[in-house]
């Protein structure tokens, strides 16, 4: 079963077909990106596509940004192998959007211009708070980016049969370069269109497979579950209830609780999600975009539930675990079982497209934060002249970030860095969300409070990860031989999120500085009413 031949990843896969379908996707998106570049001139165009996308368009793009390869391949695979516990992830990922809808999206759209730091520093001392917010943005984006690029290496082994380290390095580099073309040429407009196309393909592909699987079982979910149990071996029955992955010990149970907290509070603090709210003309459109995102993401996760159990039933956990890529191969193997090499090729291409679109979104966010927050507002202290060179700096920042992502993706190739996604969510939940909520809703919140909660969140989260079983102490750790794993949980959210809220409070109460009441009045009125909010620039002509 295990292939010694280089040219077959998943058995029955046709690499030439997979690459051809993917090449068509890249070609079409590149044409669109070059067309988009014609109307990308100003800073607002580059960062926010002139704020001219509609709510539904941005909602589809948000789901494209959010549904990474990890949530497609990873969740479907986790359900196939662990059953119910895989489903738990998707619920956290979905419910999290209510935080964005109710508390963050519209208020952020009304007060900021380009980045998360715009809102956090609105009524604080610009230099220190912007720097802190930019550091947090870069940390979240880079960790997330690294996980995606690393995933690209694994995915080619799985789908194209490229198993040599050099071959995978070339693929990671190609992914990085195409992504950079999207960002540099198309700016936010091009990147958004790539995400829209990818989201439509991904959701359509998952829909077709879901109907196909259900059709095999007479559209009876219970029969499908029964068949998954029958193919699940001795512990098959456990697929239907929770506990197969996280129920082993009391530590793993706490770990799951911790993960659940980071998932639900992290989304509304992800900088690349927040930045998308600036691409629409008004708060009302920001609201509509979240509604579209919630519906699409919710439906998609219902699809993955069927796909996961479907893979368990039609492919079987043993075959999945024996395939290259293990858990991640569940959805591709299911596609193969259902529709042969052609459907597998389509799903493989969609998975690649997913990585491309997500890394492009992350790169533009990180580069915007560097250029707008650090370069223009901290180094040049908001000097008007520097605004003209802002896009140039952002483009160079994108190149550097792209190179870091390529090198990081190649260097970590073969290592399991799945924890980086959870880490990105944990930092977003601990450093960003408390600071955003305090800034928007708590009158007395000060610069000191902001700095304590941002830096506290970043440092505590990363610190706890370093001293967790992720890094040392266990067979699956990065350093299995060393032992400095005194923090038992792999997910730090349970500790870091409450601590960071507490730090924001203490910094405000204990710090010597007072809140700027005038600026708070302006921020509160603007955030709730949309007065003086950034307007959409008229398209093309400016």
């Amino acid at each position: 079963m295990i292939n010694s031949v280089l040219a077959a990843g998943v058995e029955g896969s046709n690499p030439t077909l997979n690459i051809s379908i993917f090449a068509v996707f890249v070609l079409i998106t590149l044409v669109i990106v070059f067309r988009a570049s014609r109307s990308t001139r100003t800073t607002t165009d580059f960062y926010t596509a002139g704020r001219a996308f509609t709510g539904p368009q941005n909602g589809i793009a948000l789901s494209g940004d959010y549904l990474s390869a990890a949530s497609f391949l990873g969740i479907a695979g986790a359900i196939a192998i662990y059953g119910y516990d895989g489903f738990l992830y998707s619920i956290g990922f979905l419910v999290a959007w209510l935080v964005a809808l109710l508390l963050v999206a519209e208020l952020l759209r009304n007060t900021g211009r380009f980045t998360m730091a715009d809102v956090l520093s609105f009524r604080m001392k610009q230099g220190p708070v912007r720097t802190a917010a930019a550091i947090s943005t870069l940390a979240v984006s880079l960790f997330y980016l690294l996980a995606q690029m690393n995933g690209a290496g694994g995915l080619v082994a799985l789908l194209l049969g490229v198993t040599s380290a050099a071959g995978q390095a070339v693929v990671v580099a190609v992914v990085g370069v195409i992504m950079l073309i999207y960002v540099l040429v198309g700016g936010m407009k091009g990147t958004t269109w790539v995400q829209i196309i990818k989201a439509v393909l991904l959701i359509l592909g998952a829909f077709v497979m879901t109907v196909w699987v259900l059709g095999r079982y007479g559209f009876n979910l219970s029969t499908l579950l029964g068949d998954a149990v029958a193919h699940g071996g001795k512990t098959g029955e456990a697929l239907l209830g929770p506990g197969k992955q996280y129920g082993a010990t009391s530590t793993s149970q706490l770990d799951f609780l911790s993960l659940g907290l980071a998932l639900v509070l992290g989304t509304a603090g992800l900088p690349h999600v927040l930045m998308r709210f600036y691409t629409v003309p008004s708060a009302k459109e920001a609201r509509r975009s979240v509604v579209w995102a919630i519906v699409l993401i919710g439906i998609f996760y219902l699809f993955t539930l069927v796909l996961g159990y479907g893979a368990g039933a039609l492919v079987g956990p043993e075959t999945i675990n024996a395939a290259p890529g293990k858990v991640n191969s569940a959805a591709p193997l299911l596609a193969l079982a259902l529709g042969g090499p052609v459907l597998l090729g389509l799903i493989a291409a969609v998975a690649f497209a997913t990585i491309l679109a997500v890394v492009a979104g992350l790169t533009i966010t990180a580069s915007a934060s560097f250029a707008h927050d650090i370069y223009v507002n901290v180094i040049k202290k908001g000097d008007r002249e520097s605004a003209t060179s802002e896009v140039k700096v952002a483009r160079w920042a994108a190149v550097v970030i792209g190179l870091v992502a390529i090198i990081g993706g190649i260097a970590t190739n073969g290592q399991n860095v799945a924890f980086l996604v959870a880490l990105a969510f944990a930092i977003a939940a601990a450093a960003n969300l408390p600071t955003i909520l305090y800034s928007l809703f708590w009158k007395r919140f000060t610069t000191t409070g902001s700095l304590w909660s941002i830096y506290g969140g970043v440092v505590i989260t990363i610190g706890l990860i370093i001293f967790s079983p992720v890094v040392s102490g266990e067979k699956t750790s990065i350093f299995p031989g060393a032992h400095f794993d005194w923090f038992p949980l792999s997910n730090p959210g349970l500790v870091s999120i409450p601590l960071s809220f507490l730090l924001g409070y203490l910094g405000t109460v204990l710090g010597k500085d007072k809140a700027d009441e005038d600026k708070y009045a302006e921020m509160e009125v603007r955030s709730l009413t949309g007065a003086n909010a950034e307007k959409a620039s008229s398209p093309a002509t400016s």
């Binding site: 100003t42 579950l225 929770p242 919630i294 009413t529 007065a531 008229s538």
Partner: protein, 116 residues
């Protein structure tokens, strides 16, 4: 709208007395109603989600109970999280369209009208 200015901010904020608007009855009423909706609702869905996570984490037997066929309590509970998310989304949109938008638009027009 209509202007093509890009990076320059909208009308100069200096013309607006933000503290005066903030203290106005129209604005305090808007803020009261918005917070009166979103805070309890956020508390509600977070508590409901936490209850679900705790049950899935610690009540394996209960969640694995079969209701009919192979459909377990846990599966129904999970699907209810989807339902509640969609319902809360719908409720908020209706509230925002009916209550928040008209009040916010009125205050915004007063501010932006004054300073131009």
């Amino acid at each position: 709208m209509g202007t093509t200015e890009d990076s320059a901010a909208a009308p100069t904020p200096a013309a607006t007395d933000w503290k005066q608007v903030q203290a106005s009855p129209e604005f305090t009423e808007l803020r009261r109603r918005l917070r009166g909706f979103v805070f309890p609702m956020a508390g509600l869905f977070l508590a409901w989600y936490l209850l679900y996570v705790l049950l899935a984490d610690y009540a394996h037997g209960f969640m694995s109970t079969k209701l009919f066929g192979n459909i377990t309590v846990g599966l129904v509970f999970g699907l209810l999280q989807f339902v509640s998310t969609f319902v809360i989304t719908g409720l908020y949109v209706r509230f925002a369209n009916r209550v928040v938008d008209p009040a916010a638009d009125q205050i915004r027009h007063e501010i932006e009208g004054d300073s131009q």
